[in-house]
Symmetry: D2
Subunit: 133 residues, 4 copies
């Protein structure tokens, strides 16, 4: 099946490039799947949501490892996001997510990361490391 | 805060109707948040993903209880969805999801359910019960 | 088919209550489908994205009308969100969305709205009007 | 800003590899944003939804071109998905989506595609072409 998939791909792609392509897919899948999920500032709730996502992304092709942490929300000073009242909770946004994904394609490993970069005001996805095994 | 929210609402709404409205919101939030998440036919993986969603939806206003089960995927006979090869996994679809949400608005409880109805070929969301406490 | 769907529903539900339930579903579907979509502060881009969502939600059962507007993003003062550089764009968030949905269930119409309420720091979904036709 | 983003990235990445990474991100963003959107078998509806998504993904960094087509749904023989009754519509799934994204990173262009591959029973994302300009 992996062979069949290869037939569609640009023939000039190296294994290293395949690994880099795949890690891009996984970072974006993780981000767009999680954004918008209701959340509150409770460690156990955050952990369970992150664990669910981690298991989900781990199902995708070539994934070796997923680390995912949802960070506490601090913006919106009128709220604690701890359900002091019914509307005191929030949705997962780019600024609350830090995740790392490792994929292996043949003999190449690519590690990608998504995290909020304040100076960019942006959840940056980037390749952290590429190595041969 | 709940008071403030009420000011926006149609004044003719009863508490019972508020509960019914809120349970509609929760069922659709749950459905649209989960659809498209990668999954495989592994009980532990499915449970962790369902648990994450359950915690997430439980953060929303008026929610008392969320039960959520992801059912094994059987369609696609060329696949087992157990990662026999890299592409042997799938995405959560309407037919794999059964969930029940209970909300309480003042003295009224509404219980809503979403499940796949084969005769409709459709993931039906409906109110299962409404009761006063 | 509508008949078949009714069989699942709590028998005590009035048509008015069905309309209220359905409008809750539509507001949440609209919200969770749109959140996280890339966007920039360009009127034509915003209109096309809103139009696509409007068409999509209009496909759902009992929907008579969908109005949807994406409002310009002003937060994040280091950014204009007009692609002055590659990262100068953003994702649709609760605070950028105003939408109204009208559903009809038999002889009852329910109009629901979702909009950002600053005092709640929250994208509130509420029933704006319920009427018999 | 693009400079700042580069600082986070693995220093060994070539421009060609950056382009390949970015096109992976865009394909997955497009896929996960669209999956689950309500749809019916009406050319105009499908075109408007596809156009909205196209505009949205075009906002992302390095994107030069997005082509996106939603294909008619044929499975579920009890349904025409043309609103013959209230439940006769469906949700966008992997098998209904064909999209192509072109990104440019410095002097390198990568073209990626996502389409349903029956033999894989899977919406395959792959790099179709990589070229220097």
């Amino acid at each position: 099946m992996e062979k069949l998939a290869e037939n569609f791909s640009f023939s000039g792609m190296t294994n290293r490039e395949h690994a880099i392509f795949e890690v891009g897919i996984k970072l974006a899948a993780l981000f767009h799947q999680l954004i918008g999920a209701p959340i509150k500032n409770d460690d156990e709730v955050m952990k369970k949501i992150a664990d669910g996502l981690k298991e989900s992304i781990s199902c995708q092709p070539y994934v070796k490892r997923v680390d995912c942490e949802i960070k506490k929300m601090k913006e919106g000073m009128t709220q604690t996001y701890t359900k002091q009242h019914e509307f005191d909770y929030t949705y997962i946004q780019g600024r609350n997510l830090v995740a790392e994904v490792e994929v292996q394609y043949e003999d190449w490993i690519a590690i990608g990361k998504v995290e909020w970069i304040s100076d960019l005001n942006y959840p940056l996805m980037y390749v952290k490391e590429v190595k041969q095994v």
